[in-house]
Structures are given as structure tokens and as C-alpha cells.
Amino acid sequence: MSKNSELQTPNSKLQTDWEPKIVAFLCNWCSYAGADLAGISRIQYPPNVRIIRIPCSGRVHPLFIMRSLQNGADGVLVSGCHPGDCHYISGNYIARRRFAILKNLLEYVGIEPERVQFSWVSASEGEKFAKVVEDVVEQVKALGPAKRLVKRKADPH
Amino acid sequence: MNPYLPHLAEIRKIIRETDANDVKTFEVVFLDEAVRKGFRYKPGQFAQVSVFGVEEAPISITSSPTQKGYLEFSIKRMGTVTTALHNATEGMIIGVRGPYGNSFPIEDMEGKNIIFIGGGIGLAPLRSLINFMLHEENRDKFEDIMIIYGARSPGDLVFKWELKKWEKREDVNYFVTVDKGDGKWRGRVGFVPAVLMEVAPSPKNAVAITCGPPIMIKFVIQNLQELGFTPEQIVTTLEMRMKCGIGKCGRCNIGSKYVCRDGPVFTYKELQVMPKEY
């Protein structure tokens, strides 16, 4: 793997027809319902997200995020209930601490902060969900395809 | 020849063996004609079975060499590979390389009374030898054949369709038992080692071959000795974690033996001098 290839700015020609893949981990009780509402309300948002429903933002193991980046996600969005609204009372509070640390750690080793994002979206916030996705997609698009931490095939011998 | 390369093979048929659906038998055919003909094995040997994208696992070959053109593996759902196989459908392509390991000492068994003692899925490697011996070409080479087989419950008995055939044969002394019966079970109830004592085969000119859960093997060996069997007359197979199958990766090392290369079949006499590390 050539280190330089990871430092190059994304090829502009590629960028025009390139669409980022965003993995979105959405909590079952709030954000997933929020995404649902966005759909039912026919609010347009970019189709770049691949949604994975999880019971609670507290279920999101940091390895879920890192594995997503390894396996080709250009961005990761984790979304849960607003503080105080957690179905399991404190899952999102615990998650919040974890995410704060993880975000800083990834940024510290040189991964663009926009690649990994977090939001609180309630079941009634269909519009907010659409806006969050729009923002994330736009920001990741500006960065270009993910290069760091992406698992590439090894060279033969 | 690269010994690590698996041959592609198709799962032609999947048979559900147990009520709990934790054991399935897979009928497997090599895609390549030449491999199909060239893959010669003996009862007791195993193969490395690959589920591509998962991993490889050592599985004993349960079919007999007298069954031509295909292999059978009976597999209990345990780890990653076996779980993947259980999720497989007929027609899936897997990889098979081998055969590996020694085999049951067939030549030494000729002219002798043979006693098979199996428990649960432990019947799988024994079945290869049973069907080999019962084959018309080979049956005359062996004297009396006795099979004692048991499982936890009637639903846990494997190869049910074949057990019936063995039971019907006049040249087989067949005993089947379960640890715990159910409403429909009319047969014997009791642990395999106890049934062994009840049946009490004579050690005279005999070889006993046993395979099953470790705790069963332990008591079977004790009881066999009580019946007068010498350690040389008791044969069993060992299980160890394996990776390469060819004595290099170091994983299945017990004492100076590699189970994949020097085993998996050992006489109790051989086991007695090996470290108890299995």
C-alpha cells in the first residue's frame, strides 16, 4: 500500500460522478422512526445512506464504526434519542461519552472529522433527519472517497 | 503440488440427521473428474473442508471408500465453519483437500471380531469403517461385527436410515441405546459404557473401536479393560484444533505426535504414553 496515495487529494474527475456511501446506525426508538417519518412525509434526502437499525445508540460498539470505515464506508452517521429520551433510560448518555472519545481519537490519527458524525433525532424529527443526512452527505462529498483505514487487498508477496 | 489448495466440490445433498437439527450430513462431489477419481482415502481419515470466505475445518470422512464418486461428511454445528455449512444449501461450492491422517489399522483387524462403540456424532468416523467392513468385497475378511451405539435421546441418533439396515443384517450384532427415552422409544435406555458391560463382548481375538464424547470414551476404555481388552485392542480417534492438516502449523501437537499427521486414530496403548493434553 502506498502511503502517498492516501495523501493525494481526490481526483476531481472521479469526484463528479462519485457518490459517497454512508453507513447510518439508527436507534430503533427515535432516529429510525425519524427516518421513517421522513419517508412517510415524503421529505427528500440523499439516497447515500445505508441504514442499520440498532436497539439503542448505546449498542454502537466503536468497532462497528471502525469496521464500516475499513470496509468501504466513506462516512458513518450514528444517531440516537435526545438526551433524556432514551428508551433504556441512559444508553445514549453512555454512548455520548464513548463517541466523544472515539471521535477525538480518530481525528487524532488523521481521519477527517466529517467522516464520523453523530446526531440526536427523535421520532418526530423527520425533517431534522433529512437535514442531518443532507449535511453529512454534503460534507463527505466534499472530502472525496475515504482513503484512510480502508482495507485494501494485500499485494501478493 | 500445493497441499494447501482445496479442490472445489459441490454439496449435492444435505440430510438433516437430528431432531435438534444440529447435525447434518453433506454429500459432496468434486467438480473435477480427475480429482474425483484420484481422491483415495481409508476409513478414519479426514479432510480439510473450506467454506470460502469463512475458514477451513478438519472433518472426518464418514462415507466408506466403497462408496464411489462422492464423499460424505456428518457435521455438528459448533464453530464458524460448521455453522456456515449448516447455513448452506444444496448446490453450494465448497473446498475439500486431503485425505489426511492415518486410518484405522484395517490390516491388523482382519480375521478378528470387531466391536464398534459409538456415541452421538462420534459414530461418523466409525461409520466409514463399518460400511467398509460390511461391504460384500470385505465382509469375509472380518469375523463377528458388533455395533453399540448410543445418543442422548432418540432424536439425537444420527444416520437413522442406516441404523435400520445394520440392525436388520444377520451378520451384525447391533445394540442401540439412548440416555433418556421419549414417549415413542421402545428400545434400550442407558449409557453406552453400561450397555457395553451388559453385552460384555469377549476380548478374545477382538478389536474394539470407540469414538464419542470424551467422557464416554473414558468410561468405555475403563470398561473394556475390565472386560479383559488389552490397550492394544482398543482403538479410538482424537480431536484437536487443526489448521494445516499436514503437520506443519503446530496446532495439533501432543507430545511428539501431530494429530493431523500421526493420528487421528490411536490405540489406547499409544495414548498411554502420550501426554494427557487432548
Binding site: 508477496h157 | 497441499p3 494447501y4 470460502f52 475445518a57 484444533r241 489448521k243 506443519k248 503446530g250
Partner: protein, 339 residues
């Protein structure tokens, strides 16, 4: 076989010539760590070094390597991935490590199954040894049938005698090199050869760790159940430093890697010191604790391997001693076992 001399300032020329015809692996220093790596220019090679931290086994048996590839969706073939058979020179290997390669050969080139990944890299390699004129305090090669200037497994042997090296051709391959590059070599004078003998003698004298290992195999035959192991294993942390840095350890794991529709099978170093090494799918683990695992390491090297291949699987390089995080010293274990 013939002996020549090369002036140290001619080494650059010699290496440059070699680089034209061969891929050359030589000791290099990166981040304070000496290891063997392919060099592009003669200047990269380290001439003054004790020994490499990672043994040169990694050239033939790398930490991880691809074995084959396949397409998961459309399984019609398994594509073998073999290393290329390029002509290589392994320059500057120490005699202990050369002996270790011979031991690895026994495993990977056994009569029943030959390991193509190892052998293809191994076969076309010329071993240019650098005699060990400064054995370290942790060296105990002489207890294992080796010596700082042992010729076993080498094609050429260099001996440092101040401003020049005496170079001895050991095999035909080595002799061919001496002839092919005769322009950089000079005839060895009697005094050079005398100097060489002195350097060798002095090196042997420097080795202070001596363990009488003739009876170790027999001794270990009776030790499996001994309480000795309960005592010695306690400080072991269960990491793989000793086995990964051992020039004779060869255990490996095999795994599949998948990406989209493509799949690859790899092998990678593994260690009997890891708890999961022998863990079976059923949950049963024949080597439950650190005690069994430390015992396995000692038994395998000094008893099991001997029974299988007729030699002890240790060359006394001292890497496991120097690099152990808790200073677990195999020499102490061995001394206690033979006393």
C-alpha cells in the same frame, strides 16, 4: 574450499555487483531496530551489528502471506498465489540463524508434504554468512552444536579481521560467487588465515553461557507431570515475543479474508503461547493455562522436535531472552532441567 580476502572498502563494490544479479537481503537499521530487508543500494547494509531483532526466517516465512485467491460469487477456480522464484542473496546472516533455517527446512520440506510458499523463496537463495565475532552475553549457540563461525547452512562465510574480511567458499554456489566477482577479492595470506583463526577462537571464548544439553530430551521425557512447570510459568505474560522472535518457531494460523466478492486465504504467524491457540470449537482447551503453554514451548523445542527431526529446535541465539518483557530466561530453565 578456497579462502579469499576482501578489503572493507571493497564491500560496497561487491554488494553493488551482487545487486545487479540478485535480490539482496541484508541487515538494516530502522528506528533503532536491526532487521533483514531487501536493500536497493549497498549503503543500506549495516556492517556493524550484533544480530537482527526479528530473525531472517521472516524472509521465507513472513508474518503473513497470501496463499490463494478466489471469487466468491462465481466459484470456478481457486487461484494459487505463489511467490516468485527470484535469485536471492541473504547477506550477513549469522551462523545461528543459518542453522535455524536448516531446522525450518525439516518442517517445511518434510518428505510427506512440501510447503511451496516457503520452499519457493528458500530454494534460490544464497546464504552469505557473517561470522559472529562479538557473541553477546545471551548467546549460547555452542551448547546446541553451533558455533560463532559455524559453516552449517552457509554458502560463504565472512570473518571480520579488522580492515578486511576473510571469505571462505563453503559450497559450490559460494565458490561460484568468489570466482564470478574475483575482481573484488584478493588472495588470502597466511597471516590473514592466522588472524581468522584467532578471531574465531576468541569468539568461542566469549561465549560464557554453557549448558550441557546432551541429556535434555531424556530428562524431559520424565518431566511432563512435574511440579517444576507450576513454578516457572508464573511470571510469563502469555505474549508471543519469544516465539515470534524465535528463528525456529514456525506455528501458523490460516484464515480467509474477504472483500466484496473476492476472497483470499492467508496464513499468519501464530503462537503456542496464546490461550486461544488450542481452543476447540466445543469450548474445550487442552492447554488451559500459562503453565501448559510454557511447558509446550520448552517441550516442543527440546523434546518433541528432537523425536520428530533428530535435533533440538533451538540455536541459542538469545532473542527470546533479550526481548522478553519480564526477563524470562530459557537458559535458567534449561540449567535447572539438566542439573
Amino acid at each position: 574450499m578456497s579462502e579469499k580476502v576482501i578489503q572493507k572498502n571493497k564491500m560496497v563494490d561487491f554488494l553493488n555487483e551482487l545487486l545487479k544479479a540478485y535480490k539482496v537481503f541484508a541487515p538494516v537499521k530502522r528506528d533503532h531496530i536491526v532487521s533483514f530487508d531487501a536493500i536497493q543500494s549497498s549503503g543500506e547494509m549495516l556492517l556493524n551489528y550484533l544480530n537482527s531483532r526479528i530473525p531472517p526466517k521472516e524472509i521465507f516465512f513472513p508474518r503473513s502471506e497470501k496463499m490463494f485467491e478466489y471469487i466468491r460469487d462465481d466459484l470456478i477456480e481457486v487461484k494459487e498465489v505463489l511467490p516468485s522464484e527470484e535469485r536471492k542473496v541473504l547477506f550477513g546472516i549469522r551462523p545461528c540463524d543459518a542453522k535455524a533455517i536448516l531446522l525450518l527446512d525439516k518442517v517445511f520440506d518434510s518428505p510427506d508434504y512440501q510447503d511451496p510458499y516457503y520452499l519457493r523463496k528458500r530454494k534460490e537463495t544464497i546464504f552469505v554468512g557473517m561470522g559472529c565475532d562479538r557473541p553477546q552475553s545471551t548467546c549460547f549457540c555452542t551448547s546446541l552444536g553451533g558455533a560463532p563461525f559455524s559453516e552449517e547452512g552457509l554458502d560463504l562465510l565472512f570473518t571480520n579481521i579488522g580492515d578486511r574480511f576473510v571469505v571462505k567458499g563453503i559450497t559450490e554456489e559460494g565458490e561460484t560467487l568468489l570466482e564470478k566477482y574475483e575482481q573484488v577479492f584478493e588472495r588470502a595470506k597466511k597471516s590473514d588465515l592466522d588472524d581468522k583463526l584467532n578471531v574465531e577462537k576468541e569468539a568461542v571464548n566469549r561465549i560464557k553461557s554453557k549448558i550441557a544439553l546432551e541429556k535434555i530430551e531424556k530428562r524431559l521425557d520424565k518431566m511432563f507431570e512435574d511440579s517444576f512447570w507450576d513454578r516457572i510459568y508464573q511470571k510469563c505474560l502469555g505474549c508471543a515475543v519469544c516465539t515470534y522472535l524465535c528463528p525456529t518457531c514456525h506455528c501458523f494460523d490460516i484464515t480467509d479474508e474477504t472483500m466484496d466478492t473476492s476472497g483470499e486465504r492467508f496464513r499468519a504467524w501464530d503462537s503456542c503461547q496464546f490461550a486461544l491457540f488450542t481452543l476447540q470449537a466445543s469450548g474445550h482447551n487442552p492447554r488451559m493455562s500459562g503453565k501448559e503453554r510454557v511447558r509446550q514451548r520448552i517441550m516442543h523445542k527440546f523434546n518433541y522436535f528432537v523425536k520428530n527431526y533428530g535435533e533440538i529446535a533451538c540455536v541459542g541465539c538469545g532473542r527470546c531472552i533479550k526481548n522478553c518483557p519480564v526477563n524470562f530466561d530459557i537458559r535458567q530453565i534449561l540449567l535447572e532441567l539438566v542439573s
